[in-house]
């Protein structure tokens, strides 16, 4: 059953939240050891929540649109009293004294939070191998990575541990693992979902979004978690989304541009099998009545370079607070600054340290203009290029990831190869635009390929129209 079916069955009394939860816990019991999607399975808390939902139903009350649906939450989102680790040793043992806004929204909608999912440490990575607690494996082929950084959430949905999951996307961390695990993943418009309680990686790029098995379920979850939050000044002053009509509206007459640079053009390394699936997706959208043509978004090729200055710069500042003074483990030393150095040296993994150093350097006196300043200009260029493209097109299209899921260990020795996993997704973060990945076709090894639908800021509605059509067409082929 997908999420909508579960919620509907529970609300109608055809099943109970408790039964639904126990079924999922059984699946988790069977495969979690092999996959390691979770840092923490919240069995007892989830059981209490499920009982609460069933009690509401028994009283004739409606628990909300997510009634009794198990939801897995990425472990960089704060949960009151429940360890929140960011898959880092530096947050070992830390229990937040508050819930993130989206945790409250999930609970208010009747969701049952089933666990905290594994990620690349502080969301830095594209394979979920940079976790202090060990990698997550792809449920479709456990010799392969699930993508990252929200690999635990993607794997949880793909493995049937939960029909819905929450991730965060700073450069592709929802869309790329969604593609590699064969599920739907959405990065909403920057500011669409409150970041309050999301442990910051790069604040101007981070955005929370949904994973689901279906486009319709992703829409349901996004509707629930979106909307203005007074605790996040950067959240958009808009009511929650209503995507219900988008799912059945079709794409007839929509103008869709395929980004040439990411589809066999300027950017190398997009595999043929992925390009072949993209061609099929173009065909499917055309058949459904869209006008699809290739177009250029020239500066998108500089996205990766700009991103690897801006994101580390913000990260170097955001991660400075892990100093051993107020929370988390502390490595004692003679002086305060020696204690801070020792704590950070022991607490952070290599990739996090690499990015802190990159970012600190990029912001330093004498280098700021050449690196951070210039990258911000590239960011503006990308926004301008997107704005130009959206004068002609309603949506843009590209692959989500350059390849299907790759073997564990394949790219861990070569950070640049790992960074290239986000080549297609990064520009949407720099522009603050929404984008989603929908499974479409398979590679030669039988692993799923994701197609990315990009939309201008605030236009998730049109994006979901194309997403629904791709899903429908993909299911027709399968």
């Amino acid at each position: 059953m997908n999420a909508r079916e579960i919620s509907s069955a529970i609300r109608k009394g055809e099943t109970t939240a408790k039964d639904v939860l126990e079924n999922h816990l059984t699946v988790i019991q069977d495969r979690e050891e092999e996959i390691h999607a979770f840092n923490l399975v919240m069995t007892e808390e989830a059981r209490n929540e499920a009982e609460g939902i069933d009690a509401l139903i028994a009283k004739g009350k409606d628990p909300g649109p997510l009634a009794g649906i198990p939801v897995a939450v990425k472990d960089n989102i704060c949960t009151l009293g429940i360890p929140t680790t960011c898959s880092s040793k530096i947050l070992d043992g830390w229990r937040p004294p508050y819930d993130a806004t989206i945790i409250k929204r999930l609970r208010d909608a009747g969701a049952v939070i089933v666990g905290k999912t594994n990620l690349d440490e502080f969301a830095m990575g594209a394979s979920t191998e940079n976790s202090a607690f060990g990698p997550t494996r792809n449920p479709l082929d456990t010799t392969r990575v699930p993508g990252g950084s929200s690999g635990g959430s993607a794997a949880a949905v793909a493995a049937g541990f939960a029909p819905l999951a929450i991730g965060s996307d700073t450069g592709g961390s929802i869309r790329q693992p969604a593609a590699l695990c064969g599920v739907v993943g959405v990065k909403p418009t920057y500011g669409r979902v409150s970041r309050y309680g999301l442990v910051a990686f790069a604040s101007s790029l981070d955005q929370i979004g949904p994973f689901a098995e279906t486009v319709s379920d992703a829409a349901l979850l996004l509707e629930t978690i979106s909307g203005h939050d007074p605790l996040d000044t950067t959240s958009i002053i808009e009511p929650p989304l209503d995507l219900s009509t988008a799912l059945t509206q079709g794409v007839k007459g929509l103008r869709i541009g395929v980004i040439d640079e990411l589809s066999g053009g300027a950017v190398e390394g997009i595999s043929d099998e992925v390009l072949s699936c993209l061609d099929d997706a173009v065909q499917a959208l055309t058949t459904a009545g869209a006008i699809v043509e290739r177009t250029s978004v020239p500066s998108t090729v500089y996205g990766l370079s700009a991103y690897y200055v801006i994101a580390p710069a913000e990260a170097s500042s955001n991660l400075a607070r892990y100093d051993g003074v107020r929370f988390g483990p502390r490595v004692d030393a003679k002086t305060t600054s020696e204690m801070m150095v020792a704590t950070r040296t022991a607490g952070f993994g290599d990739e996090v340290k690499r990015r802190i150093m990159l970012g600190t350097y990029a912001l330093s006196a004498g280098y700021y203009d050449a690196y951070y300043g210039k990258s911000q200009k590239v960011r503006t260029l990308i926004m301008n290029d997107f704005a130009n493209a959206y004068e002609k097109y309603d949506l843009l299209l590209s692959p989500t990831a350059p390849t299907t899921a790759f073997p564990l260990g394949d790219k861990t020795e070569d950070p640049l190869q790992m960074y290239l996993q986000d080549i297609c997704t990064i520009s949407s973060n720099l522009a603050g635009h929404p984008a989603m990945s929908v499974p479409f076709g398979k590679g030669i090894d039988g692993l799923p390929v994701g197609i990315q639908v990009l939309a201008p800021a605030m236009d998730e509605h049109t994006m979901f129209r194309a997403g629904a059509v791709l899903e429908f067409s993909n299911q027709g082929q399968a």
Binding site: C78, L198, A200, S203, T233, S317, A320, D323, S364
Partner: protein, 477 residues
């Protein structure tokens, strides 16, 4: 004006004043902004910089910052928050949210009581840090056994007012800071209490030969906790720099620490050791762009500034504006003017407000105050009696005439007084001779003796001034 030169040298001073804004809550969260309190009781995830927390700008703090800008004739503009990155245990996020290249208030000036205008470069918003205390080792960080941090102050809104290097002496600097404090208090922006640290002064000092146009190399002096230490620190630092130059060396640009105990400044760090704060725009906050309508609203509601209030009181009381400073600082000028308007003697009004009402007027009404002064002016009450009645009025309110009667105060007949004084003179012939034949100074001393005697015998009911008149008249005859 005092001599602002040191043997032909001129001191150049620019001040950076941090003032805590008088808001109910912190700059970026709803934790309370109050002084004192048990350590770490006025905190929340935001003021502790916990992972996942986000700042939300306090609109009241913005309003107060705009008031400061308007009072200092600044341009109130669109501004951007920036992160100032550095590690320190009392800095929860390891960065301070401040403003860098686009401050909320830019430019402006402050007029000293003597009419000179001192340039203001900017006045920007930022958050305060927590407070560290070091246990063991005499409280010094390097020898301490351990340190404690109190985050109650972390996130308290500050306005940092950067003055131009227009001040030329320790007196100038003190005048500037007291005027700034009066302004901040008058517009309700801050309580301006240096002793509680709600107003803090960093001082940039350089010296140059008189007549020289170019600035000398400056040093920034920190840890100044009172107006008195401000003056001392400037004078010490200027002397130190002149001594360096006259001995043929060059002043090094440094940040220095004022030590109140030994009366010296000590090197904290040189320019080379200065922090690289790696400023960049704060991505968690949107630019702050107050609408012209809001700024006008704030402007309309601005109370009169101390300078105007001194002029108004000075006119009403027929005194020099500078003499009105204390009363205005104590916020008693409206009270004074109301009493004067009711016909009370202006000199007595000011004397009582300055000397006897330092802790405020309490239950005292303007009417009672004016009536009391009338009783004093007419000679029905002596100055001492009036003071007693005044204290009673402050505590309990009431009618001054009735209170005086309750105390048994009544005007003494001058013939009774004459007789009394006659008796005292007879008993103390040597003192009388000393008075009668002494010069002005001697007379002043001895009159104190005689007035004292009279007061003792009348239990303070006599009017000292009348006694003096009688003594003088007798001495002349």
């Amino acid at each position: 004006m005092t001599d602002n030169t040191l043997d032909g040298w001129e001191i150049v001073i620019g001040l950076e004043v941090h003032a805590e804004l008088a808001t109910a809550t912190k700059l970026f969260s709803s934790a309370r902004n109050i002084f004192g309190g048990d350590p770490n009781t006025n905190i929340d995830p935001v003021s502790l910089g916990l992972p996942g927390s986000l700042p939300v700008l306090n609109q009241k703090a913005v309003e107060l910052a705009i008031r400061v800008g308007l009072a200092l004739n600044s341009r109130v503009q669109r501004s951007v928050f920036a992160r100032k990155n550095y590690f320190y245990p009392d800095m929860p996020k390891a960065y301070q949210i401040s403003q860098f290249d686009l401050p909320i208030n830019e430019g402006g000036w402050l007029e000293l009581p003597d009419g000179r205008q001192i340039g203001i470069e900017r006045a920007h918003l930022e958050e305060d840090t927590g407070k560290s205390s070091h246990v063991g080792g005499g409280g010094r960080i390097h020898e301490a056994d351990y340190s404690l941090v109190d985050y109650n102050r972390a996130g308290v809104p500050l306005i940092e007012i950067v003055g131009a290097p227009d001040l030329r002496s320790a007196d100038d600097a003190r005048d500037y800071v007291s005027e700034l404090r009066s302004i901040l208090v008058a517009i309700g922006a801050s309580d301006g209490k240096m002793e509680e640290g709600s107003m803090r002064v960093d001082c940039n000092v350089s010296v140059r030969l008189q007549g020289n146009e170019e600035f000398g190399t400056r040093c920034e002096v920190k840890n100044i906790n009172s107006l008195r230490s401000l003056g001392r620190a400037i004078e010490y630092e200027a002397r130190r720099q002149v001594d360096i130059i006259t001995s043929g060396q060059e002043v090094e640009q440094q940040t220095r620490h004022w030590d109140e105990a030994d009366g010296r400044t000590h090197k904290l760090r040189s320019k080379e050791e200065a922090f690289d704060y790696r400023y960049f725009s704060e991505p968690d906050l949107v630019p702050l762009d107050p609408s012209p309508e809001w700024i006008s609203e704030i402007k309309e509601a601005m109370p009169p500034l101390p300078r105007q209030r001194r002029i108004d009181l000075a006119e009403a009381a027929e005194i020099e504006p500078k003499a009105a400073t204390l009363i205005v600082e104590r916020n008693l000028d409206d009270f004074a003017m109301s009493a004067i308007k009711k016909g009370a003697d202006a000199t007595r009004v000011l004397v009582h407000l300055a000397n006897n009402l330092a802790d405020g007027v309490g239950q005292l009404t303007v009417d009672a105050f004016a009536a009391l002064i009338d009783l004093e002016t007419s000679g029905d009450l002596s100055a001492t009696q009036a003071k007693t009645v005044l204290a009673d009025l402050v505590d309990n309110g009431g009618d001054p005439a009735k209170i005086a009667a309750n105390h048994g105060f009544e005007a003494m007949d001058s013939s009774e007084l004459e007789a009394l004084i006659e008796g005292i003179i007879t008993e103390h012939p040597d003192d009388w001779t000393a008075f009668a034949q002494g010069d002005a100074e001697e007379r002043k001393k001895k009159s104190g003796f005689f007035v004292g005697q009279v007061m003792k015998m009348t239990k303070g009911q006599a009017d000292g001034k009348v006694v003096n008149d009688i003594l003088l008249r007798r001495a002349e005859n």
